[in-house]
């Protein structure tokens, strides 16, 4: 009897499986049978993974064909999310490449429905996300200079460091929310998280960051969250932004111009107003952070 029930559940889950394709206000459910109905192409890839040579032959459906059928054209990037919440973003140019596929078969072995994988030979395999559950279209809007920028150092100095940050062990640091709530008016919805190496994620606070921690590693902090796959954790957190407010971990940068190089703001102002404990001062935005005024400022606005 138990076996029958398990069988029915497994059969039902197979029947229920679909990839959610989200475009503006519409949601399309891509079932496996639908994907199987597209023309298949075969591609081969060669990778060097951890010193090991990997040659694979993939069979799948062209992403371009799927998007064309549903007339999905108005986007700049596609965001792919896996069933364990891993997330990657791929540019339109890479999506529409003739060899970009949703792989259904690898080296002759057919993937189970829930293990369908993105394969784009022209980009690094860290973007070849497995177990795809959702594909969302995204548009890039220009990124204006934030209205207010807090420097992380004064906030960190005013907050008691913790020796326990469950579920992580033998670490010290802060919870993400206790630091960020001192700068941001609300912790909600989409946040931009950037590492010193330029890795960027736009993440939903409730889904990924509510339980995140900042783990001290030397002078820097690594952002880890039990709600994020380890591959998405950010080493050397450098910048966080919600809406028009940001927090800079300024020791990763020599000046605002260097932050600008990383974030590509389209309107870096010439002058900003630095706020200290009891006074304010107008300052040229190209100056170095190690100049006395900058090193003592708590936050700035323009």
């Amino acid at each position: 009897m138990k076996i029958k029930i398990i069988g029915i559940i497994l059969f039902a889950s197979t029947m229920l499986f679909s990839i959610e394709l989200v475009d503006s206000d519409r949601i399309i459910n891509l079932e496996r049978s639908k994907l199987d109905s597209y023309e298949k192409i075969e591609i081969s890839t060669h990778r060097n993974k951890d010193g090991e040579e990997k040659n694979d032959i993939w069979i799948g459906v062209k992403l371009a064909d799927v998007l064309q059928e549903y007339n999905i054209t108005n986007y700049d990037k596609l965001c792919f999310i896996s069933s364990d919440n891993y997330l990657v973003r791929v540019s339109k140019e890479d999506v529409l490449d003739n060899n970009s596929i949703l792989a259904l078969i690898r080296n002759g072995k057919t993937f189970d429905d829930e293990h369908i994988r993105l394969v784009i030979p022209r980009i690094r395999d860290m973007f070849w996300i497995q177990d795809i559950s959702t594909i969302k279209t995204e548009s890039i809007s220009d990124i204006p200079f934030p209205h207010t920028i807090y420097f992380a150092k004064p906030i960190l100095l005013n907050t008691q460091i913790r020796d326990e940050l469950p579920p992580f062990v033998k670490v010290s640091g802060y919870t993400f929310s206790e630091i960020m709530s001192q700068a941001f008016p609300f912790l909600k919805d989409e946040m931009l998280i950037v590492g010193k190496d330029g890795v960027k994620h736009s993440l939903d606070y409730d889904k990924y960051l509510k339980n995140a921690v900042l783990i001290k590693t030397g002078d820097s902090f690594d952002l880890k969250s039990p709600d994020m796959p380890a591959g998405m954790w950010i080493k050397n957190l450098a910048y966080v932004q919600i809406f028009d407010v940001a927090v800079i971990f300024q020791h990763h940068f020599t000046s605002l111009s260097e932050v600008n190089d990383l974030l590509k703001w389209n309107n870096l102002p010439e002058e900003v107003i630095l706020h200290f404990e009891k006074k304010t001062n107008k300052q040229n935005s190209n100056e170095k952070f190690n100049i006395k005024n900058w090193s003592k400022a708590e936050w700035l606005e323009w």
Binding site: S141, D142, P144, P185, F186, D189, D244
Partner: protein, 147 residues
């Protein structure tokens, strides 16, 4: 006869009060409870005296559409009353700021975490996306119960 006149007066007074109240636009959030406005114009001018430290405003339409704007945008947005309907109009901001039939403007100004009625109200909304135009940020929301 006197009774009838009195009854008429009461009905007239009730109708007058109703007309007045329906003509006012409700302000909520981190602001004195019960605040309403009945003047048109630029949002920064409207808020100058009643919420001078406002940093954000959530413009909420009767259909549940809402736009979150920053104080930098207040001078770019006009609050208008046309035929008893409050509308917001902004040419220099993303189109989402043009909301017909406003029912409420929810104000954020710095306050203690305990008393953050703005955040409580924002939790009634689903985030739809962020856009910017001319360097001004706007977030679009939809009221969860306002389908």
């Amino acid at each position: 006869m006197v009774g009838m006149v009195r009854r008429f007066s009461i009905v007239f007074l009730v109708l007058f009060l109703f007309a007045c109240s329906s003509n006012n636009l409700m302000l909520t959030g981190n602001i004195k409870v019960g605040t309403k406005i009945n003047n048109q114009g630029r949002l920064d001018e409207i808020l100058k005296d009643i919420a001078p430290s406002a940093k954000y405003a959530l413009l909420i339409g009767l259909d549940g559409t809402a736009a979150l704007i920053t104080s930098r945008s207040f001078s770019k947005i006009h609050i208008q009353n046309d035929k008893n309907e409050w509308n917001s109009k902004a040419d220099d901001l993303p189109a989402v700021c043009n909301i017909r039939n406003l029912k409420e403007i929810c104000i954020y100004s710095r306050t203690s975490n305990k008393d953050n009625r703005f955040s409580d109200r924002l939790n009634d909304f689903e985030f739809l996306g962020q856009s910017s135009k001319n360097g001004y940020y706007v977030r679009k929301y939809r009221e969860i119960s306002g389908e």
